[in-house]
């Protein structure tokens, strides 16, 4: 029961985050439901892989991105929107904010401690590891979500065809 609640909370907050990040880009109103479904599904899968299958954050993000990309095809068809309209906002709740913050924090601390070789080395290593994780997660999320579109281009490019009323 606790596990179910854990996934429900994870999915719920990811869905709210996806809707909010989507709203910035002025999507059609009918797309919000599908953005929420994708954001929740992707984030829950990553949570599952990281916490129950001991997978690292970058490869978990790759699979979560692929799930979002795959699901975006039928959902975009239902919403009669290009698939990017619903999958880009759904990816954003998986941006590795903490690692990005730590990268920036390490740069600042490196500059402040550059007179002390030991501390400077420590912060430089932290900068490299956090920066690499941030870059890998964003890269894998993007690649994972775009792969299905390239595998099924004909289907991916006809999502808006049935929308006769605009």
């Amino acid at each position: 029961m606790n596990i179910l609640l854990e996934f429900f909370v994870d999915g719920l907050f990811a869905a709210i985050a996806g809707i909010g990040f989507g709203a910035i880009s002025n999507p059609p109103r009918r797309a919000f439901l599908y953005i929420a479904i994708l954001a929740a599904g992707g984030h829950m899968l990553r949570h599952l892989l990281m916490n129950y299958f001991a997978m690292d954050i970058a490869f978990s993000s790759l699979f979560a991105g692929m799930l979002i990309g795959l699901l975006s095809m039928p959902l975009a068809y239902r919403a009669a929107t290009p698939s990017t309209v619903i999958y880009i906002p759904a990816l954003l709740p998986m941006i590795p904010g903490k690692f990005a913050y730590n990268t920036l924090f390490s740069i600042m601390m490196f500059l402040r401690t550059s007179h002390d070789p030991h501390l400077a080395d420590l912060y430089l290593t932290k900068f490299m590891s956090n920066g690499l994780i941030t870059f890998s997660v964003i890269f894998f999320l993007t690649i994972g979500s775009t792969l299905p579109v390239f595998i099924l281009p004909k289907q991916a490019y006809q999502m808006t065809r049935k929308n006769k009323v605009l």
């Binding site: 290009p82 906002p89 740069i107 065809r161």
Partner: protein, 258 residues
Amino acid sequence: MTTNDNINEVVDFLCEYASRLLSCGVHTSRVVRNTQRIAHSQNMWVTLEIFRSHITLTASIRGTNHYVTRLVEVPKAPISFSRNSALSSLSWIAYDNDPSLDELKEKYQQILEKPKLSPYLVLLLVALANMSFCKLFGGHLVAMAIVFLGTALGFFLKQKMGQWKSNTFSTFILSAFVASVFCASIAYYFLNPDQTVIAMSTSVLYLIPGVPLVNGVIDIIEGHIMIGASRLIDAMLLIFSIAVGLGITLSIFHDSLL
């Protein structure tokens, strides 16, 4: 149907359509395909060369060798998925039904006049989104409330600076600074250093430029390397701007976060 008499009018519309579509945050191959569908409906052939701020378009009536070439500027406009969807649908309507140019123009005008989401609703949704982000990163209720307020403040400033037509990078730096300094200064009094870091680091994430990042990767994979690289450089500059805004806050609060 296009003739030598109205070819300029059709090409003008193709230029307007392609540049408007690119400006609302669409990846390059979609702009090419959609414009070609519109051209097909008017019995025309068209090819495009697309850069970040300009499009070169060459068109001719099918079966003739009378070519018209135009160079158009891409208008600066906020990203709009709604317009992206509607303009894409318009290209299919054109392709499947072969409407006249006047009918196409009328539908196009209707799309441009569609109302946007209320800015207050967007503000509320963005603040809720960042608050949820804070929860996903392990933030407690107080941290979530602080992030909600800080995001609302930062995003309100971003909206206002957008209305004032301020420089995009200044907007990102200032919005990131205001949101993060608000969260850090309130969290400093009410929360422990760990929660303060979570609140401060999530407060700027609404600024992450997801659309140019993803479109840049799609463009590069599809062979539109130049515009793909331009989009990624744009996205990187915006991320650097966020880092500068957050960095100023960090330099004020760094001792209390160690």
